[in-house]
């Protein structure tokens, strides 16, 4: 029943989509992280206008589906003549950059809540001790607040990265040819649904397990004090 030759062919067809999927994910996660930190700092700044803008941003981007955000950027922006005349148009007419923009803005909203949680989790006593030792400003952030916040936020951020890998599949809805787009193409041309699905699923699972493993390794390195407990097994359950 299983046609090994066809499975191999599916694999050969879908594999070229992996760099697009990974590139889209890596780019939107890294730029999105910078944006997430800025949003989290705005939330914690205690400056009402900044806090309000960041709150509204997170509310809108978490309250609407990513698909409609991507459609708005890809289909919606193109109808304005001033956008077609702008220097950004060479980027905004490419599905890749539209997908990147939507993914980046979306993960920034979810990520900012994770970063905020991480920053809030830094024990007050640690900050006080650092201040007593004469640290302040950037030094305090670099040595004390940053590392502790990063460590506490990492597991949740790892989940966010995996959700982003899955979310890159939505780029196929705006015509970008990545892993899901290629699988859909096989399905619609050959109608051999199960083979194409299985191959694409295996590729996504491989990517996500690798990422979950990497996050676990980094987490372990950053938490030497917790190492004996973590010696059990990596949590590969891809928790949401």
């Amino acid at each position: 029943m299983i046609d090994a030759a066809f499975l191999l062919e599916c694999f050969r067809t879908i594999l070229p989509g992996v760099p697009t999927t990974l590139g889209l994910m890596a780019l939107s996660v890294s730029v999105g992280f910078v944006f997430a930190v800025l949003l989290a700092l705005a939330r914690l700044s205690a400056i009402p206008p900044l806090d309000l803008v960041a709150r509204a941003y997170v509310f809108v981007f978490r309250g609407t589906p990513l698909a409609i955000q991507m459609f708005l950027i890809y289909f919606g922006l193109a109808q304005f003549p001033w956008i077609r005349a702008s220097i950004l148009w060479p980027y905004l007419r490419e599905p890749f950059w539209c997908a990147f923009l939507a993914l980046m803005l979306n993960t920034a909203a979810y990520g900012s809540e994770i970063v905020r949680g991480g920053l809030l989790s830094v024990p007050h006593g640690q900050v006080e001790a650092a201040r007593a030792a004469g640290m302040s400003g950037l030094l305090l952030f670099r040595r004390i607040v940053g590392p502790i916040a990063l460590r506490n936020a990492l597991p949740a951020y790892g989940n966010e990265i995996i959700l982003m890998v899955k979310a890159t599949s939505l780029a196929s809805m705006v015509t970008l040819v990545e892993v899901t787009g290629l699988a859909a193409r096989i399905i619609s041309t050959t109608y051999r649904v199960f083979e194409a699905f299985a191959v694409a699923a295996v590729i996504y699972l491989a990517i996500n397990f690798t990422l979950a493993g990497l996050v676990w390794v980094v987490e372990r390195r950053l938490s030497p004090d917790h190492r004996p407990e973590l010696d059990a097994a990596p949590d590969m359950r891809l928790v949401h």
Binding site: F59, F71, L72, K166, S169, T180, I187, Y191, R237, H240
Partner: protein, 242 residues
Amino acid sequence: MPQWLIDYWALMGFGPTGWGLSMLRAAGMTIAVSSAGFALGSVLGALAAWGRLSGSRIAAVISATYTTVIRGIPELLVIYLVFFGGAVVLGWIWRTFWDGEGFVSLPAFVAGFIAVGICNGAYQAEVFRGAFRTVARGEIEAAAAFGMPRALAFRRIVAPQVLRFALPGLGNCWQLCLKESALISVTGLVELLRQSFIGGRSTRDFFSFLLTGAALYLVITTVSSALFAAAERRALRGLKRA
């Protein structure tokens, strides 16, 4: 009134040329398909959680595989699998057992809610499992000591508490359902995203339609999170806050 608002109302209002009614109907479709998906997800999630907790090794492996695989692959892929795979399987049954001819396919609504349900069930399973852990062992032992059969103890002691503790997590799952339902538009089901796209295409004003669609999604998610918050307050009313 400013001109743009008049134009917008002509486009999105409820007049003869307005798309208001179509948009609201599509929003209703989004809620309907998400609700059906959420309900199926609850059944699958409860089964998977039970599989993990039952003590049976096979059941545990099956549920762990289900939750891990589904949470590791894109929802869109599951939608393609159910929609096109459903057509293949149905077509095969139709030709083999009824000597039927031609092409049979799963209705987009059915395929859509099944796909959303399969995805959501994997997340709900984790929510139920976590909630079950919070039910004190002693209470189950006490029920057994009273001579309650397991089914009765489940109905009277375990289920009400699991539901109570699962409510916040289930609220998150419902939000996921709503957002995933937008992906069903690839099957041609006219829900909110599809309707916004159709309207945008035929009036060449994607921006207004997609922005209106996004606003309607925002209304749905905001109202439902308020409803879940109210349900949580009610369910936890007898509990002291830690």
